[in-house]
Subunit: 229 residues, 3 copies
């Protein structure tokens, strides 16, 4: 236990160092794809939001592809504050996709995430707690999840790794391998037609939390930025 | 046994009370979706038909989505008179969809009902007993079922629960979880082109038994009425 | 053994009687579907060709739907002369579709035949022995089968049953249950564009061996002729 804690502490120090080292953010990924080529416990990309992420509603969209086997847990999006996993999206070992707001999550049966690009959006609002995934523009069945909740500001968004167990404790077996592109996030729920427009690559108002074309990001470890072709 | 019967009786009394309590029907669900967020034995919606349901033919259409696992029995539509399950539609444990008219049913191999919306119609007429499901506008193979039969009037339509074993004996493990919208029912068999028009959201004559836009309904328990988006 | 042969002989006599009894053919099935509602060993439809079926090439097209389970053998088309199964099409127990010309067959991996209508064509010509199935207008890979062979005339085409083991020995477990419509057969290989036109319901020259709109047929047992809707 002491050793594990010591290891976690070391991890935390390393991650903090890394986050400092990569603090020179780069800006803008229009027409680019992030490629995570290997399973590692050290490759990730931090994303800097355009506003404090105190959210009572949101739409998160990204395009994702992976060669990982269907029964491998995968972190798809991790937003963590000092104490909590504020907002995580996972592909679970049983194939379901989960969405968690600082605590137990809610699980959705979606089509498999494959080597072909899936466009994946997640909408949630605090009023009635209506949560849904949108796969290639089609909405899942609503689930009611944490009405009244507010996502807390002041954390860090990571792609590629989950740092939630202990700050900085990254696990290769949960890491993302594959491609991510066109991530956008809005502080409100987009309409069906807006989500479908985004899916088909039509022009929609860019995200006011994250906008891929002008996103501030910092890659670390083995991550490639390549042309989307 | 006595205890179970006592429980059923209690359930019957409770259901009757509930049905009385919810007798102040609401009207019209145009652009709305019914969301049954959790597995319960107390959440349902009663629907009041526009005419006595003495039917020698019908078309029943609805759009449905669910997160329930593929091997879970699900009640999709239940019309019950005092003594009989007059007209039920089930998703069975083996994935087939069944249609019963007061007795043993007939089973169809349809594509799975998933988290994405399926448009599902059922047509039947007494003359030759031709029964078919229509999934997203495509007709299943006909099956011959109860030629000569007449659906009896005077019952209650329930969404979300099956009350058929004993009046009021609702079982959580058969309950519906997910979304239902755009339910319409006609007292005749619609043509292929009319069913396809309904599927694609084009204008068709509204149901004369049930018409979603002007439907009289009474939700009970944990059921949400949300905008369809 | 003797009893079985006796049974077969009796069956042969019965079938011959039936074929005589149903010799008053009906004509024309435009806009109609043949529905075989139950598994039987006595329901079938005989088809009378427009020409002697001495064929050195052919295209056979039909639309078919079934509720039968995926691992059930199904006879789809049976043309038998006195001594041989001249031309049979089967859905095999392993899901493959087979084509036999008086002897061992050739097997194709096609999409499953389901409760929704599949349009299925089969082309073959004796010159190179090129055989292919066409599913909803898409051609399978060619297989080379019996170059030099000629289909012999003078037999009977049956839908719904296979009478090949012994003349008149019908087996319920091989019978067809479901729907057949729009069967056409030509004495030559149709072009891709003609097959696709047929699939989409466009006008193509009707079959000169069988033409659904003017087909001579004789239903026997439990077979329904219903409007195609």
């Amino acid at each position: 236990m002491v050793l594990v804690r010591g290891h976690s502490l070391l991890g935390a120090i390393l991650l903090c160092s890394v986050l400092l080292l990569v603090s020179s953010n780069e800006v803008g990924l229009a027409g680019k794809v992030l490629v995570f080529p290997y399973e590692t416990d050290f490759s990730f990309v931090t994303l800097k939001p355009r506003m404090a992420m105190e959210l009572r509603a949101f739409t998160l969209c990204l395009r994702v592809a992976t060669e990982l086997p269907a029964d491998r847990q995968i972190i798809l999006f991790a937003y963590r504050t000092a104490d909590y996993d504020e907002l995580n999206v996972w592909r679970e070992r049983d194939g379901r996709v989960s969405f968690t707001l600082s605590g137990d999550g809610v699980f959705f049966h979606l089509p498999p995430i494959t080597t072909f690009r899936t466009s994946l959006c997640l909408t949630w609002e605090t009023n009635r707690g209506l949560a849904a995934f949108w796969v290639d523009g089609k909405r899942s069945s609503y689930q009611v999840y944490k009405p009244g909740h507010t996502v807390q500001p002041g954390g860090t968004v990571l792609l590629g790794q989950d740092a939630d167990k202990h700050l900085g404790d990254l696990e290769a077996t949960q890491s993302f391998v594959g491609e991510v592109t066109d991530l956008n996030m809005w502080d409100h729920v987009l309409s069906r037609s807006a989500i479908q427009a985004w899916h088909y690559g039509h022009r929609v108002p860019e995200g006011n939390v994250f906008a891929w074309a002008s996103i501030e990001y910092a890659p670390s470890g083995n991550v490639l930025v390549v042309d989307d072709d």
